[in-house]
């Protein structure tokens, strides 16, 4: 009734890594498997990633470490500081493996651990089969566990992913298109509307007040009524649940932990200058989103891609990320950094078809950390010299030994140094040791 035959042909897969930061740590410390682990954010020591065991102990996202002390003692919870360098590199690897399953134009990296793959141009491919292959290959190549959800729209793909993740009987892959309508409706009646992309806590309570509790309830809502009673965004969500693709990613503005702007080029690009144009426009867009959500970014990442599906082209898929000397939301600064990073990884002689930028290590903008202090040239000059001192110090004594302070950070420094794992994949001196 809701899925027309043309919609049944459209297939979007959402692949995401289970508990991404924790999973990255587990690749290099297998002893962390099966035990409660939380990864804490570096600026305020709150849980930003929890293993299944930690979730089972009732630790919610955002719980500060000092409030977990009793549970830690009782259950031996391991707490680690965020190792962004490692996570960035592992993300790049996972996305690179996923890129093997669809051409550049059909892969959309949504966040550091989620990506959409448009399988529509590959109708001959069995979605569950390819989903299983994706799981196996990502796990083997990178050690990261992923789940795959497939549906005719992005909202449904995300819902399918939720099913794959929360119900073990699906073995990590859920293709909504493979279900008979009765089975699909039965499934939808079992899932709370809260789990639909874009439905937050506040909207959920408003919906419940109207008797809309499950996904099935939400789906049965007339899109016109949805718009009238709630918002045009909800109207789009309901349409998407019904199999009609109409959601623009820009419409959803929950606070994400990363902001990504990436696109395939209309025509292949060979020169650095042309690439700079692309990077500049993507970063401008990303910076706008950043400011709109009231955040500043502490890290910037850039990547380039050649066309994997043209084997006659030499392949080159570099990526690089860097910590900003000072977290910012200033477009000019961010564009400048992104451009410099791009020039570092650029190599001539390749036929580039796609590029992307990522802003992460996001924190709330505070007065102290705004762009107020960046105005004067003397400050810039002093800061450049300060940065040089910091670089020499970290080259000599290791990362993180000295860094710019900011309000509210001092208490966390001890935690950051003690609990951050090494840069296993980016520094020769810090690669993981194996017993011989």
């Amino acid at each position: 009734m809701y899925f027309t035959s043309s919609d049944a042909v459209r297939r979007i897969a959402l692949v995401d890594v289970n508990n991404f930061y924790v999973s990255c740590e587990r690749v290099f410390q297998p002893r962390l498997e099966g035990i409660p682990v939380v990864v804490l954010s570096n600026n305020d020591g709150c849980a930003v990633s929890r293993s299944a065991e930690a979730k089972a102990l009732g630790i919610a996202m955002g719980t500060p470490w000092h409030l977990m002390k009793d549970l830690v003692k009782k259950h031996g919870i391991v707490g680690l500081s965020s190792n962004y360098t490692l996570y960035g590199d592992m993300s790049r690897r996972a996305m690179s493996v996923l890129a093997q399953f669809a051409p550049n134009t059909d892969q959309e990296i949504y966040s550091i651990d989620e990506c959409f793959l448009d399988l529509t141009p590959q109708p001959q491919v069995d979605a569950r089969g390819v989903g299983a292959e994706i799981r196996n290959r990502v796990k083997q190549w990178t050690g990261l566990p992923v789940c795959v959800g497939v549906g005719p729209t992005k909202t449904l793909a995300k819902l399918a992913n939720h099913v794959a993740k929360t119900r073990p009987e699906w073995n990590g892959v859920c293709d909504l298109g493979a279900l008979a309508p009765e089975a699909r409706n039965a499934l939808f009646s079992e899932i709370g509307a809260r789990n639909v992309w874009g439905i937050g806590r506040r909207l959920e309570s408003k919906l419940v007040a109207e008797g809309i509790r499950t996904v099935a309830d939400l789906r049965s809502l007339d899109p016109a009524i949805a718009r009238q009673w709630f918002s045009v965004v909800l109207q789009r969500t309901v349409s998407e649940l019904r199999g009609v693709a109409c959601l623009d990613l820009e419409d959803l503005a929950p606070n994400k932990q990363q902001i990504i702007a990436s696109r395939s080029f209309g025509a292949p690009v060979y020169s650095a200058d042309e690439l700079v144009e692309g990077i500049r426009s993507y970063m401008t867009r990303a910076a706008e989103k950043l400011r709109r959500q009231g955040s500043i970014a502490g890290m910037v990442g850039v990547w380039l891609e050649t066309n994997r599906f043209r084997p006659q082209d030499p392949q080159y898929h570099p990526s690089v990320s860097a910590r900003l000397p000072q977290a910012t939301d200033d477009t000019l600064r961010l564009v400048g950094f992104a451009t410099a990073l791009m020039r570092r990884i650029f190599r001539a002689g390749y036929r580039y078809v796609k590029a992307g930028v990522m802003l992460w290590d996001l924190r709330a903008r505070s007065i102290v950390q705004g762009s107020l202090f960046d105005a004067s040239p003397e400050f810039d000059d002093r800061r450049t010299r300060l940065m040089a001192v910091l670089d020499r110090a970290s080259a000599k004594w290791g990362r993180g030994v000295l860094a710019p302070g900011s309000a509210g950070m001092t208490a966390r420094w001890a935690m950051k140094r003690e609990r951050m794992t090494p840069a296993y994949t980016t520094r020769w001196g810090e690669v993981v040791r194996v017993r011989a």
Binding site: P30, R93, V431, R433
Partner: protein
């Protein structure tokens, strides 16, 4: 006394002039063992091609024959693939510096290639010293005889994998270290296959 024959025999100026054959230089016949015929012919084809390119002004890499091992065929490195179409930029007609990345990381497996550091001496027989860096490829299928990094009961170790009947063994390459049978109920996961060890002298 036999009559002097008026036909046949060597004549001045007869025969193909030396150096006019396909190699552009004098040749001589040579006996080649049966097992090496194929690689030698391939070498000569590549050699001839290389010369033809040089003629055209393209600097070509002279094919180098590797000293044959006692059991296997000689491995000959071609200057260029036998042409089957347009030369692509990926062909190494043009000589560049030695690319260490391409050499140590298998093309296509970059996302699956990691470096680990050996801690201990149990694998010295495989050429792995304490402190050596090991390049590990997770995309390769681990087979009997491979040196692998494995997670055993939560610990990462490097050993040679042996599969004997149904049993999985992790064997050391040092007479002082015993082999390790992976018992029932023990948790073993292959982390990756070791492809290269980097040893600092």
């Amino acid at each position: 006394m036999p009559k002097r024959l008026s036909h046949g025999g060597a004549r001045a100026g007869a025969g193909r002039p030396a150096g006019s054959g396909s190699y552009g230089e004098p040749t001589r016949p040579l006996r080649v063992p049966e097992s090496q015929v194929e690689p030698v012919v391939a070498f000569l084809v590549a050699y001839r091609e290389g010369r033809a390119l040089e003629e055209k002004g393209v600097r070509a890499v002279a094919p180098r024959a590797v000293r044959p091992t006692s059991r296997r065929h000689a491995i000959v490195r071609y200057a260029a693939k036998v042409p089957a179409g347009f030369p692509s930029p990926a062909d190494d007609y043009i000589e560049d510096v030695l690319d260490f990345n391409a050499h140590l990381v298998r093309q296509g497996h970059e996302a699956a290639t990691f470096v680990v550091r050996a801690s201990g001496w149990s694998m010295i027989g495989a050429g792995i010293h304490d402190g050596d860096e090991i390049v590990v490829d997770r995309a390769l299928q681990a087979r009997d005889g491979h040196v692998v990094v494995a997670a055993v009961n939560g610990e990462l170790i490097v050993k040679r994998l042996r599969i004997r009947g149904g049993k999985v063994l992790l064997v050391s390459e040092n007479p002082h270290y015993p082999e390790r049978v992976v018992a029932e109920g023990e948790h073993l996961e292959i982390w990756g296959v070791a492809t290269r060890v980097l040893h600092k002298l």
